[in-house]
Symmetry: C2
Subunit: 695 residues, 2 copies
């Protein structure tokens, strides 16, 4: 047992139920039934002032009438009566309350007021509240057997703990694992999460030694920072398998080229990535992976040895392993020599190793020994059909022996009629061999083990702190703009911000006359761009307020004079900037996400961002490792290398800009959105040529 | 019964087994056991000269000793003895033989000779051969119950027929459908397919009225043309659900920009697409879709009405439906009014319609009636959890009533413990409601029904025949090149071929001197490109043999003279071509696939093909509809429309080139590979500027 304050929830010594009912199909009856059915180790106290007993248990009129101490209370009565009962629980010395009742903040103001009321009372007494509008919590630990939930899946004790924001999805996952005959350790679905939060539950599971893997379903984060801190702490110890939903963004069809449009609904995936959570696209893949984590060790690499006693499924397995980035190395000569001694003549001595359908225990034993001893093999994948002419139970025992003897994981595509080969199935199950019905699912489960290996062994890197930064200057610009009620910074301010953090910017100046312009041009050099700089001119390009390719003093003077004549505004200035000769267009940006900090985006500009959405995100502050990965993680990363006669761009300079931008927005959280689009990159220079900053 | 000549295989009146054995675990015993266990309606004759009876059946020394007629024979004896037994079968008047024995053409020359031998004998007697090296065939029709197979899955009678090239994969599919409690109609896995082919089996299933959907696993096609003809014929009548494997192409990493490299292993997917076969990426999705097809009608559109009695799974369902291109239209006002009368107060009257967990039969009945009557709804998706406080059996009866009353399909994400809610499960199952364990799988199964609707309702179009084509001229060029032993056509020949089929080409000429060049330039106009034209100069660009941007007679003369001086070859000529000012780079190509005809490719050129592999394929001859779809089917299709100030390119001209190319390669099958890369497209002109043709 650990000292975390959720013990009263998951390890209660006694449970009471306020709103207990004699009505068979009511929640107030079902929870009592569940506690009894699951074999809860402590006393259960139904509370109902109108009856004497429920399901054979003495019922009490009030929580205050219970003779002994009460750790945990369920409340299932209507919302208006809840605060008073919480007060009573406080007087009784209750440690935690699961409020199953719905109808609080999700129903508007009145509900919110009731929620605030019971929370204040709970706080006064130091009671933890779970819910409201929730299912509850379950612990299969034989010492407790606390099924404080109104669901119907009585899982056996195991190593997977589940927490789900949606009780419906939680129930599906619980049932799926149950149907797969996978044990679970704990389960929780906390509904409105008014007090006990999902991150707290994750931490609790993280500290529980019997929990080998955590399965999480989450749609939104109340406190992303708390979530990230805890998730990172836990994923260093054990895998978190997670899924989110509500992510399809129907508006994403529209062409977008700034971070505000692109970030859309990707934040959750980025949070998962940043914190080392294994992300899944569907519940089934997640449950299959959970089975693998519950049974097998994490491999030390992505090289797979395949053993098969049938052909076609092997082809499918190789496709799926390859799709998931796993490798199938050739067998060593030593392995081949060894296998030639033991395999049947028709066997195919290679990787995949086809032991053929007639292979029995001696062939499988040898296949496992040789594969496991290969230094280039990190895990073993088996396609195993149960031929009617083979002693399959002794084959199954070889699976188990190999799993026990070696520290490399085994997954099995087990092709059989599980009823007919009940004995074989039992041996594999009891020997903790994860068995899947399809080659694809077995391969994907193995790939998840490998993904966790990669997460756990990845270098996290450090967040660099650049020196020579003019932090105060930036703070002043932002303060002034805020004081002036400006949301969009002027070009001059935007470029000054970037320069203050050492981000290279195409040379620029702001001038008031043709004479000043020519003088500025002397320093900047031609070609130049001139933009009319006035808050009163919107859509500058459309009204002739942007002129490119100015290559002489005469042209420059003419352009400035023409603008002076055509724009009748009183604040007219001229933004003059070096025109870069070309390079690869990049887009680097940042966007503030409430509670999360800033998302940093990197991608190729132009059509690549607009059509292919070929951008990557991470969360500031970025470590050097995270920043360095970004240019390599876009699909079109080859365009940054030597390509079609164009020299590779200077990636280190790109990474430097990304890191400086990360520091800039971290230092100045008032920046809501920052787009440098484009950054022009060549093999010698990387330079911002347009920027937009929104406060 | 139909007249197709596979009746003896799938509808045998009697079955004999040559190589029958008393040994429990031998194939020669298992097949007898299977026939008896499955309740085969005709006599079974074990043949074994050394015993008197097997499994209680009288054994005969030879096929010739059997008193009555024999339709179908299994042969399981070693290869060398097979031809003689086939001869005996011929004498006996046997109609079909399943040769389970392995060790024929797959084992090399000797095996091939034996295979040729038995095939010749079978042909002589008009016997159809199934196999060798195969599992066999099964028919669950109560009139036959012929389990002529050594597998172990005794499926109930149903509407899905399966044919698998790999017996291993076939067995997995059979077992998966069995585990899902889905009946099957027929099953076949024909191994080496020396005579009876997969297309023949597909046609047989196509003609079988009780088969509602065909499930196919295929790795390669012996005769793609036969396959395509039959597949197209059958998919017009009923869906074919198919999967292939062995498709990951590890070499695909390398950057490729010609059709030879890109086509790689995509042919099977293109064949599926062209013939209207529903293609799947994994066995499980395919089996789930089969369940939907077996139970439900095909919807008339992609608009889905969602009914749910739980929250989270609904979010997941919407994500998955949206990912699959399905739509969730808003409810009509009429529907809302109706539902307000019947739903509980906490229900959410919208699409998705959340009837809430407490909804019973009356609420579900109303939900179904209203959704089914919505004219904007083509199918109904239900998330249904079985709350312990609801009469779930009466709810299930409403599913069945709705399915019977309306002609729109229902799929259900059924979240329950199937043992605990056995009665409910049985009602849904017997009422043909396809039930899935996860929101994602239910949504994907529904999406498959919609895909088949789209296939069946798609306009196939016509293959246009262009007039004014100089077919004979092209034939002559190809014949001459072939006579000269040339594989790669000269630029002049390549452009002449394109022009002969009316494909616009940037103006060109071949000249021998500076004087001729200037004369040619008069007609072509500047700017021009000059390429040294000699078979002896390889990698022209690298040695100064290509000069761009020539804009005057002087430059032209200088370039030609310089090349004359620098290249010491005796066949030096000069290929002069108009240099187009720009446009969108496209790549249009054709590649011959043995037995299949030509693959036609379309894509955007440059980085789009090299980095994003953004190309589409189809098989020539293309119909107008197929060709018109190609520019719309690439990911970056928006780049062909008005984009970033660039006018839309002339798509009709692109389609015209695709169709002319299709006719060119169809008329001249000697063309192995043809790449037009790039084609330059603007809003007014689409024109080939480089081409490469390989014979």
């Amino acid at each position: 047992m650990n000292g975390n304050n959720l013990d009263a929830l998951f390890r209660p010594s006694s449970v009471a139920l306020i709103g207990a009912s004699s009505k068979e199909l009511s929640i107030g009856n079902v929870i009592i039934k569940n506690l009894l059915h699951y074999g809860f180790k402590g006393p259960v106290y139904p509370i109902n002032p109108r009856v004497d007993e429920i399901r054979g248990l003495k019922a009490y009129p009030s929580i205050l009438d219970i003779p002994g101490p009460v750790d945990l209370v369920h409340i299932v009565i209507p919302p208006p009566f809840v605060p008073e009962q919480v007060e009573n629980c406080g007087k009784k010395g209750v440690k935690a309350i699961i409020i199953n009742t719905a109808g609080f903040k999700e129903m508007g103001e009145e509900g919110q007021a009731l929620e605030d009321d019971f929370l204040a009372r709970a706080k006064k007494y130091g009671i933890r509240i779970f819910g409201p509008n929730c299912q509850g919590a379950i612990n299969s630990d034989p010492e407790f057997r606390s099924y404080c939930n109104f669901t119907f899946t009585f899982f056996k004790s195991g190593y997977i703990s589940v927490v789900a924001q949606s009780g419906g999805v939680g129930a599906v996952i619980m049932q799926a694992l149950y149907d797969m005959d996978i044990g679970m350790r704990m389960y929780a679905s906390n509904g409105n999460a008014s007090d006990v939060s999902i991150p707290e539950i994750i931490r609790y599971y993280g500290n529980d030694e019997q929990t080998r893997a955590i399965v999480l379903y989450v749609e939104s984060l109340d406190d992303p920072a708390e979530f990230m801190e805890i998730a990172r702490e836990v994923t260093a110890k054990k895998p978190i398998l997670a899924m989110t939903a509500g992510t399809t963004d129907k508006g994403a069809e529209a062409s977008r080229s700034h971070i505000g449009g692109l970030a859309g609904s990707i934040s959750m995936d980025v949070v998962f990535k940043k914190t080392g959570i294994l992300s899944f696209e569907n519940q089934e893949d997640m449950c299959n992976a959970a089975e693998a984590f519950a049974c097998q060790p994490v491999p030390k690499g992505k090289r797979v040895g395949i053993i098969t006693n049938t052909g076609g499924p092997s082809v499918i397995a190789i496709d799926e392993l390859d799709r998931n980035g796993l490798q199938i190395p050739p067998l060593s000569e030593k392995a081949k020599t060894e296998l030639k001694k033991t395999m049947f003549g028709s066997a195919s001595i290679a990787n995949p190793l086809d032991v053929v359908a007639t292979a029995g225990a001696p062939q499988f034993k040898s296949a496992f020994e040789v594969m496991m001893n290969e230094k280039d093999v990190d895990s073993v994948y088996v396609n195993y059909v149960t031929p009617p002419f083979v002693d399959n139970e002794s084959v199954a025992r070889e699976f188990v022996a190999a799993a026990e003897k070696f520290d490399k994981p085994i997954v099995c595509n087990y092709m059989t009629d599980k009823k007919k080969w009940e004995g074989t199935t039992k041996i594999l199950k009891e020997g903790s061999i994860p068995c899947f019905d399809f080659a694809e699912t077995a391969a994907k489960a193995l790939a998840s083990l490998v993904r966790y290996h990669e997460i756990r062994s990845a270098v996290r890197g450090k967040v660099p702190v650049f020196s020579g930064i003019e932090k105060a200057k930036v703070a002043e610009i932002i303060a002034n703009a805020t004081a002036d009620g400006k949301k969009l910074l002027t070009a001059a301010d935007a470029y000054t911000l970037l320069e203050s953090y050492g981000i290279p910017v195409a040379g620029w100046n702001v001038v008031s006359s043709a004479g000043e312009a020519v003088k500025a041009a002397e320093k900047l050099g031609y070609p130049l761009v001139v933009k009319a700089d006035s808050e009163q001119i919107i859509h500058k390009s459309d009204v002739g307020g942007v002129v490119l390719n100015i290559s002489s003093d005469e042209e420059l003077e003419a352009v400035v004079t023409k603008m002076q004549n055509s724009f009748e505004v009183d604040d007219l200035k001229f933004f003059i900037q070096q025109q870069k000769p070309g390079g690869t267009e990049l887009i680097i940006g940042a966007k503030k996400e409430e509670g999360l900090g800033h998302l940093i985006m990197f991608g190729l500009g132009g059509v690549f961002v607009e059509v292919f959405k070929d951008v990557v995100f991470n969360i500031a502050p970025l470590t050097d490792t995270e920043a360095a990965a970004m240019p390599n993680d876009i699909k079109a990363t080859v365009l940054l290398d030597d390509f079609r006669g164009k020299k590779a761009v200077d990636k280190q300079k790109i990474v430097d800009i990304i890191l400086r931008l990360s520091q800039l927005v971290t230092d100045h959280p008032d920046i809501k959105e920052l787009d440098i689009n484009p950054v022009l990159a060549t093999h010698e220079e990387v330079c911002a040529v347009d920027a937009r900053i929104i406060l």
